[in-house]
Amino acid sequence: MDLASIVDSIYASGAAEWMRTSVKAMPIVEAIHVMAAATVFGTVLVVDLRLLGFPSTQRPFTRVSGELLKWTWAAFVVAVITGGLMFAANAPTYYVNTAFRLKMLALLGAGLNMAVFHTITCRTIRAWDQGVPAPLAGRIAGAASILIWVTLIFLARWIGFTKGYNFDVPQDVNLDFTF
């Protein structure tokens, strides 16, 4: 099964049909998506800024991230569910949309950045958890994370403005007539 046919079956699903036929579904799901995205970005920003030593290194990094990451993940799950519903509603349109594809790439980048940070940079966490600046790798991860998430949100907003038009005439439509 290739990707395009998976996209088509997502488009044909009951959830997608519900999104297209319920008048209130789209505005409500979109609003929840914005809420969830705002929470993901905001909580990540607090942790990233702490990595950059802002407002100070006084509070242990593990404590700052520990008390926030559960909210980040909860909001992320909500964002994925609502985003999935929005994608399903117009799946073939989003699938070919450049802004959408770049957004997914940004999401992947955010995940990789986080994975590298947690598995490699955090090995030495005891040495810089509190009172001293994070190592360069940590500060770069923090700055990169802010950059990626802001880019992701910009790309996300762009999708709605670049959905475009598929002017192709379906093969079985005959326009060679004369009245």
Partner: protein, 166 residues
């Protein structure tokens, strides 16, 4: 109000915002990023009051850290939001969600200022009993404001017969 909006829509500045293709999406993007900053600042302050985070610090310290982001973010949103209104005044003026949002915004801003001022003064002592309720109420207000912001584009869908644009 409708006439004022029609007039504003015809001014050269408004026409520029409408007709330069990337202006509206750019303003909306900045607006959404800033929602994250403002909402989470408010969220942090509320979580502290609810005793869910940063219980090792007094409320005043949490307020000092996050309130500048909250106010700064709100200023950015006032600018981007204001420009978006100038760009499409008729759409906003004929949206019930827009007017509800503005009303709740006034309440939320005044409430947050009052809330922060009274609690930060109470620095090290126990937080007053009503603080938790107020913190939750403010969060609910911000959530409602975000919902209404998104709903401006869907006035008929969300409000049906109550919509101002039908």
């Amino acid at each position: 109000m409708r006439e004022l909006a029609e007039w504003l829509q015809g001014t050269p500045f408004s026409v520029t915002i409408q007709s330069v293709s990337w202006v509206v999406p750019l303003l909306q993007s900045i607006h959404i990023v800033t929602i994250g900053v403002v909402f989470v600042s408010s969220f942090m302050i509320a979580l502290r009051v609810l005793g869910r985070i940063r219980t090792d610090e007094p409320f005043a310290a949490v307020w000092r850290q996050f309130s500048p982001w909250l106010w700064g973010g709100l200023c950015v949103m006032a600018v981007t939001g204001g420009l978006l209104v100038v760009g499409e005044p008729v759409r906003e003026a004929t949206s019930l969600s827009f007017w509800l949002k503005m009303a709740l915004l006034v309440i939320a801003v005044a409430g947050t200022a009052l809330f922060g001022r009274s609690l930060a003064a109470a620095a090290r002592v126990e937080l007053p009993s009503g603080a938790k309720g107020a913190a939750i109420a403010l969060l609910v207000l911000w959530i409602a404001i975000i919902f209404l912001g998104r709903a401006i584009a869907y006035d008929v869908e969300v409000w049906g017969r109550l919509s101002l644009s039908a």
